[in-house]
């Protein structure tokens, strides 16, 4: 996005606050504390390296610009380092707000394919980073420990439990949505 692009005024007399209410309910209860000082963006390592702007996303959310927030690829550049949360003078907890907006984005079908794959791995193997090659078992043997650790890699009943939980919460359906918007 460049300054040469034509911008139109954001004319909002009464912002639709349904998105803000959604965010508050989903894990970002303090979003309305924000007075736009920008401490978050000034502290943000992702902000220094990419066009991810925490303050901008929060402002858009407060204006009710839901679609702009949830469809933005930058939303996924936050590493959740919590530096902004530790420095925010208004206790907005910006990291939690970003995570809450991500929850809304995912519920509306905005999900990156690699993230979906990682989530599926947990349902299939019990682990986001599974023991999926013999070479990993060999590595374990080389350091002098049992080839298969006593986690879900060894106990398939643990994976069954995870599948049941994902079914109960609807997570299995959430990540089964294949089409990216």
């Amino acid at each position: 996005m460049t300054s040469a692009e034509e911008k139109t005024a954001i004319e909002i007399d009464t912002p639709d606050d349904s998105f803000v209410q959604m965010i508050k309910k989903t894990g970002g209860p303090n979003i309305q504390n924000c007075y736009q000082c920008g401490t978050c963006s000034g502290s943000c390592p992702a902000g220094a390296l990419t066009n991810f702007l925490v303050r901008g996303i929060i402002r858009k959310a407060l204006l009710g610009l839901k679609e702009q927030c949830i469809s933005s690829p930058e939303l996924w550049y936050c590493t959740t380092c919590y530096t902004c949360t530790d420095r925010c003078p208004q206790d907005v907890k910006p990291t939690d707000v970003i995570k809450a907006i991500r929850n809304v984005a995912v519920a509306e079908g905005y999900m990156l394919a690699p993230h979906q794959k990682t989530a599926l791995k947990v349902l299939e193997t019990g682990h986001a980073v599974p023991l999926d090659k013999e070479s990993w078992e060999n590595l374990r043997e080389k350091v002098g420990i049992e080839r298969i650790p006593p986690n879900a890699s060894k106990y398939s009943e643990a994976i069954e439990e995870i599948k049941k939980l994902a079914k109960k919460t609807g997570f299995d359906k959430l990540i089964a949505v294949k089409e990216e918007k």
Binding site: W76, T79, Y82, L131, R140, P149, N151
Partner: protein
């Protein structure tokens, strides 16, 4: 005093990619007379970046399932991963303080005949080492001090942040992790971006590896500006993966070469306690495996026999 035992939450990266950490912590805890118990059937914590960003309720439910395994045995959990710590500690805290969340999660857990009771605590290895063993006892165990070795630190994020919630250390001027690492006798070398994230967390590594690696490069450049170092120490295997394997990935994506030994703090202590690198397989780190290289033993002040 009775020996303190912890349920050992392995997570994914330690047992499946950096098993040398799993072996090293067993050596170190044993030397310090602390017990580590298998946590049979534990799963992914689950990954706070991906699961926490996807669906908070599912994240809390799967984390709670892991917590119930420890509750059943009545021992606290310890984990050597900042990510696992973020999920298990945070979920444990939220479930103890948020009745509405607890009710929903327990309704979910009823499907598999489990219930979150809120009876245990979650400790990072760092907490167990500093608070249970104590720095004095650790110093006494050091038989191979890292003399004249320049050490930079990467404390990572989720052990100490958010600081008001975790109440571990001052996240702007932390000292606990540094003091633990300094027991090894190595010289602490500060650098500007020490407290910056490695780039892997928050599902960024999965989303866009090049952006994640740009964080890592910034840190390495910052170390260079500080005069360079012989090793970098971290309390987290995901950071370790990003910083160690990341060097190989940086070479591939950006054609920049960095060579720095990255050790988990329990690997550092295992060496300082006199264990040989082969006892826990330090040379299995992924940068060495992929580059067909070995740790820079001489710089680390460790004599190894050529095999």
């Amino acid at each position: 005093m009775a020996k303190k035992s912890f349920y050992h939450f392995l997570g994914c990266i330690i047992p499946h990619r950096y098993p040398s950490v799993e072996k090293a912590v067993k050596l170190v805890f044993n030397d310090l007379d602390m017990g580590l118990l298998d946590m049979d059937g534990a799963t992914c914590c689950p990954a706070p970046g991906v699961f926490g960003s996807f669906d908070r309720i599912t994240w809390a439910t799967i984390a709670a399932r892991n917590l119930t395994i420890a509750e059943a045995g009545g021992h606290p959990i310890t984990t050597g991963c900042n990510g696992c710590f973020a999920s298990l500690w945070d979920a444990n805290y939220e479930l103890k303080h948020d009745e509405e969340l607890r009710e929903i999660v327990n309704e979910n857990l009823a499907e598999i005949d489990r219930e979150f009771k809120g009876t245990i605590e979650v400790w990072h290895y760092v907490d167990a080492l500093v608070e249970v063993a104590g720095l004095d006892k650790i110093r006494k165990k050091v038989t191979r001090p890292f003399k004249d070795v320049r050490m930079v630190l990467h404390p990572g994020c989720h052990w100490m942040r958010p600081k008001l919630l975790k109440q571990k250390d001052d996240s702007e001027r932390p000292h606990i992790f540094r003091e633990l690492c300094e027991t090894s006798g190595a010289e602490y070398v500060p650098y500007k971006d020490e407290l910056m994230c490695c780039g892997a967390g928050g599902a960024v590594r999965t989303a866009d590896i090049k952006v994640a690696l740009e964080f890592t490069m910034q840190k390495f450049e910052s170390v260079k500006e500080a005069g360079g170092a012989d090793m970098m120490i971290t309390p987290c295997p995901f950071c370790e993966l990003q910083l160690d394997l990341g060097q190989v990935e940086i070479q591939k994506h950006f054609e920049k070469e960095y060579v720095l030994d990255i050790l988990h703090v329990v690997e550092l202590l295992a060496l300082a306690f006199g264990h040989e690198p082969d006892e826990f397989g330090l040379a299995t780190h992924l940068q060495y495996q992929l580059r067909k290289s070995t740790p820079l033993w001489e710089k680390l002040g460790i004599k190894v026999e050529e095999s």
